[in-house]
Symmetry: C2
Subunit: 521 residues, 2 copies
């Protein structure tokens, strides 16, 4: 059994049966092994950032490890932005990077580069396997790291892939068992004291506490104690909608987030980091914790759900979590804006959808409009590296083929990984993509003012030009159809509603190019 | 003057007047400064890999430094593949990476990552500027590094951009003077001895010896001594065509390269690295230097032209370099294949063109068909990181607005940086893009067999599927038009000739989607 077979066999045995890939020459034995090892599905992406974003979306929905195959240092570089997002989401992911043959590296061939250094910036676990007989054990070690919440990178030289080796004994079952994160009793006690204090307390949830029992426990705690429960700004996976315990998200803009946190004397962190401003702004605080507010770390991202359940047993016995009532907006008519578009989405969102949200400024109305829509999972841009939405939708759709996926996508961000649409078509995924086409990097037009770069005056022509996407205007319908996805352009709320209803009614990929005005008018 | 102004002023004063950019919030003061500092042109790319590839193409043609502006670690990651190509081409380039404010970094905000580590993999010079008063001096140091042949990365925190500081005294003139590379007299002597030996000698040129006086000197040497003169496989910029001293390039496939080098007793390297196989293959040598062949390093990439001129004065006094005669293929008719397409290009290439070649397998006939076409510059994929061609065409066209640019582009590679077409349209660049659309990663279908991954049998269905781009077929005309570039699909040699003639006749960007069969049939 050569190294490539050993890798595939070990992954499949451990339950990893999908690999998002953009391979090159160094990975040809891996590609060939797909036909000789049963049970692995290879999903081709036309760009590595699509493959890594797809793997992230897959793991967030599947809950288990995702695998991605990349080609040498440049392939890893191309995949890096979405690996950054995955790192920030603590996504269980094994990244296999094919490398030159061990004996070939010293020749400094044109594609030679420092893979390890780049991998180290996103991976808690990096290993270069040097002998085919070590592949199985190294793969198991990578999977164990993944299950501890680290992103693992396994660098596989081409000759290790193609050479036969006797596999060492692998403790498959032991290595694959996920170690439970212990609940810290003292931290539970301190959080309980804060909640019992009668002082204004905010419970900020993230990590594994934004869905399922952790989310329910958090909302029970809020209900019983009066604490404000907030979700981190960019959760990896937030369950929400009718019948689900409801929480607001911490706002993106620091001013709005500061308002949500104002007056808090205690901040309890359950799976979330202490809140900081996304960017720094001249003369404004980066740390969003109010003066005089004590911060209590209940649990890091992993184990937050368990800690919250323990805390709820203490402070909220007998309390049940109130559930969001069903409520849909009326279908609006007339001009298509960020708000009427949101109402259309709220009115039409199908049951059990997965919503991937990279709508940025144009998404300003969506949270409110969908709060009472049928229950759904929301995936967000955890690491802030744009170009996440269309790839993540691939992974989500493959992880849950029976659920409709709605990708809400800003126009500028869409262009970083636009070739993802081709994989939507190739795999015939039930993904409806809505492009909010406002012809600008609208968020940057806002940020240009917020950072004071233009000293309160209007931006000059060169600055405006550098944030403008309207010359030429991008026609996402043509791009989508060029990549095999049927597209439709809409300009009114009625047209958008008709197109969205049609897309939801017909399985397979669709794209709606929704022309909306800039938030700045 | 704030740091952003200081940076722009220093760059403009040093003659750097174009900056390829994909900015974010941390770079808003740089963007605003474009309107307050005269003389800098900002060119927007919709993806960082387009910006870095454009900067590379620009510098290769302009000869002077290119500048590129990126946003934080993920932006650098997205730009990394084409920075890898630029590093391999020894392109003079300054990479400015905006970062979080100095005081903001400790908060580990979502976009925080290890920029320095990633930059170090492509840059010989990396510096993080911590005070606005240091920006000018650090920028001059970066430019000095660039002029020594290093790719320089300047990391600029947002608060250093927006804070005023008194600039230190900067030795502008001294720092900007390019130090001449000294010619190594002993190396010239050793090379001369080899050439006088009467034994079979190969002169392999690269670096600054593939155009202008260096190229002429190399061909004179070959003419006078009988040495075989070859150009490295992927030169940064090769001058060729009618009236230019002609050299063959070393072949990509190791078997063919080995044939070109067979029998050599001496290999003289002038600006080129000792030849190695691009990838390793089971049972085949990586080092392409024949047994018993002595390798003589005449000069590294910089200074190779000067060393060759000195060598030519020694071994080829009075000899003039023979020039390639004008010769164009007849316009072919019938089926459009890699070879008939090449003949069309050879027949129609306009005067003084810049050809950016990332045609991969479909380009197999182009070198021969254009050898006697009007003189042109050829830019190639130096580092092997695909997705280079469409971006590089941007930079070439901006560096030489009066020259027609022809981008020869494989379909698979095109999809890594397809949004470059939008910048072709936005800047109204005179770039004609030819997509060789064979519906496959054809090079990988060949490599799959060459690495022996399928043991001589036909690849299995999963392997074939992972290298196939035909399901769905990509319609590059629709994609181009969606991005503002007029497109036309051609299926015969006649249609291709008509479309190419029309594109050359009309200024501005055009795309031709040329359907060609796979080389594998």
């Amino acid at each position: 059994m050569n190294g490539a077979h050993s890798l595939l066999t070990t992954l499949v045995d451990a339950g990893v049966d999908v690999c998002f890939a953009n391979p090159g020459t160094s990975e040809m034995h891996f590609v060939a092994a797909l036909d000789t090892v049963d049970g692995m599905r290879g999903v081709l992406a036309l760009f590595e950032g699509v493959a890594t974003g797809a793997a992230d979306g897959y793991a967030r929905i599947a809950g288990g490890p995702a695998a991605v195959l990349l080609h040498l240092g440049p392939g890893l570089g191309n995949g890096l932005a979405n690996l950054h997002n995955a790192r920030r989401a603590h996504t269980p992911m094994i990244v296999v990077v094919g490398d030159h043959a061990t004996y070939h590296k010293k020749y400094d061939a044109p594609l030679e580069s420092d893979i390890d250094a780049v991998a180290g910036t996103v991976s808690g676990w990096v290993r270069r396997t040097l002998r085919p007989e070590d592949v199985a054990e190294d793969t198991m070690a990578a999977l164990a790291a993944v299950r501890r919440g680290e992103l693992a990178t396994l660098i596989l030289p081409a000759d290790v892939s193609w050479t036969d080796g006797e596999a060492g004994a692998v403790q498959s079952a032991a290595a694959s068992a996920q170690p439970a994160a212990a609940v810290d009793g003292d931290a539970v006690q301190a959080a309980a004291q804060a909640l019992y204090s009668g002082e204004h307390t905010v419970l900020l949830i993230g990590g594994d506490a934004t869905h399922g029992p952790g989310l329910a426990a958090a909302v029970r705690i809020g209900e019983a104690t009066g604490a404000t429960v907030l979700c981190e700004t960019f959760p990896a996976r937030l369950q929400r909608g009718a019948g689900v315990p409801a929480v607001d998200r911490l706002a993106y803009f620091a001013e709005a987030a500061a308002e949500q946190l104002a007056g808090a004397r205690h901040l309890v962190l359950a799976g979330a980091a202490s809140p900081v401003s996304f960017f720094a702004y001249p003369g404004k605080a980066s740390d969003l914790v109010p003066d005089g507010c004590a911060v209590h770390l209940l649990a890091p991202h992993r184990g937050a759900a368990d800690a919250l359940r323990r805390l709820a047993d203490n402070v909220a016995p007998g309390t049940t979590a109130p559930l969001a009532p069903p409520a849909r907006p009326e279908l609006p008519s007339g001009e298509l804006t960020a708000f009427t578009a949101a109402a259309v989405i709220g009115a039409l969102l199908p049951d059990d959808a997965i919503v991937v949200d990279e709508s940025n400024t144009a998404g300003v109305g969506i949270a409110a409009a969908t709060a009472g829509a049928p229950a759904h999972d929301l995936l967000t841009l955890t690491g802030g590296a744009i170009g996440y939405g269309l790839p993540a939708a691939i992974g989500a759709a493959i992880a849950a083929p029976d659920r409709p996926v709605l990708a809400l996508q800003a126009d500028g961000s869409a262009m970083y990984t636009i070739s993802a649409l081709w994989t939507h078509a190739r795999e015939n995924l039930d993904v409806t993509t809505v492009i909010f086409n406002n012809g600008a990097y609208d968020i940057l037009r806002i940020e240009l003012q917020r950072v004071g770069a233009t000293s309160g005056t209007e931006p000059g022509p060169k600055a405006r030009q550098l944030l403008d996407l309207s010359s030429p205007a991008i026609d996402f319908v043509q791009i989508a159809e060029g990549l095999g996805v049927p597209g439709r352009r809409v300009r009114t709320a009625e047209e958008f509603a008709a197109a969205l209803a049609d897309a939801f009614a017909e399985p397979g990929p669709h794209l709606i190019d929704a022309l909306v005005p800039s938030l700045l008018g």
